[in-house]
Amino acid sequence: MSSFLKLASASNVLEARRAFLGKSGLLLSGAAVALLAGRDALAATGGESAASDVRILNTALGAELEAIAAYQVGAESGLLQKPVLALAVTFQGHHKEHADVLAKTVAKLGGKPVLAKTKYTFPVETLKNQNDVLRFAATLEKGAVSAYLGAVPVFGNRDLAKAAASILGDEAMHWAILRNALGEVPVPSAFMS
């Protein structure tokens, strides 16, 4: 009964997610366009501040690339049932979009985007069932929210801070929906840290 409720819950979430995707795709595209609009605006801060921004973006890019690999492990684990599998693939797609924008922005700022590692370490020995995979993904997504929250105030360029906040919002939605699929309170507090 409880597993049915979880699946039903995940299925409903997925339908809502599908309905939302049409709109969010537009929003993400808008953010990406704004972010990549012009090197002049991005480079306005210049000097060490711009170099610092590139380092922050590259760190975020590294984490996004790892998240893509993590979702791939989840998708190929054989542990995710259909509605949840589609959810994981959707979220992986978002991380791919984040990584693409971050890499292009690093390049626009004159930096060298980090590449995906040839091999990632994940705690696969602890992933025995669907909930284990969901919990692992939720842990990464919550960490991502905190990481972007910690990055937003340290960007020298406010447009980059805004773009990072846009990604933060997406990661927070991932976290909430994964918690919901686990049967946990989706939004456990009023503030994130």
Partner: protein, 127 residues
């Protein structure tokens, strides 16, 4: 009543040995969740592993690609250096790849460091 509150506060701030309490590892584990986009205890990710952190020279985990700034920092991690770094990483080590504003709350830092200390002695870290 007031004396009781004062005694409780004193008891809460000092250890049995009379020193300052090193922080609450349980609370610190919750703070550590903020680090989990980039770090793990036992293996390197976007950031380096935390097992073996105490007493380790910054930038010295073999095979991990550190920023030049971190590699050159000459810091050895302990409670004091971690507290300073975690309060504001970019100010503590300009040029660090850890583009993170930091943990501004002193108690949260103390709890986080207590957790890192305890976790370093756990089976996850091969202890």
């Amino acid at each position: 009543m007031i004396a009781g509150v004062v005694l409780a506060l004193v008891a809460g701030l000092t250890s049995a040995a009379g020193g300052v309490m090193p922080g609450d590892p349980k609370a610190g584990e919750g703070i550590y969740a903020r680090c989990l986009a980039c770090h793990a205890l036992a293996y390197d990710r976007t950031g380096p592993r935390h097992c073996g952190l105490f007493g380790r020279r910054a930038g010295s985990v073999k095979g991990f690609a550190y920023s030049e700034a971190m590699s050159r920092s000459r810091i050895v991690w302990d409670e004091k250096t971690l507290d300073h770094f975690l309060a504001n990483p970019l100010a503590a080590i300009p040029g660090t790849a850890m583009g993170y504003a930091g943990v501004s709350d002193k108690k949260e830092r103390t709890d986080l460091i207590a957790y890192l200390r305890q976790a370093g002695k756990s089976p996850q870290c091969g202890k």
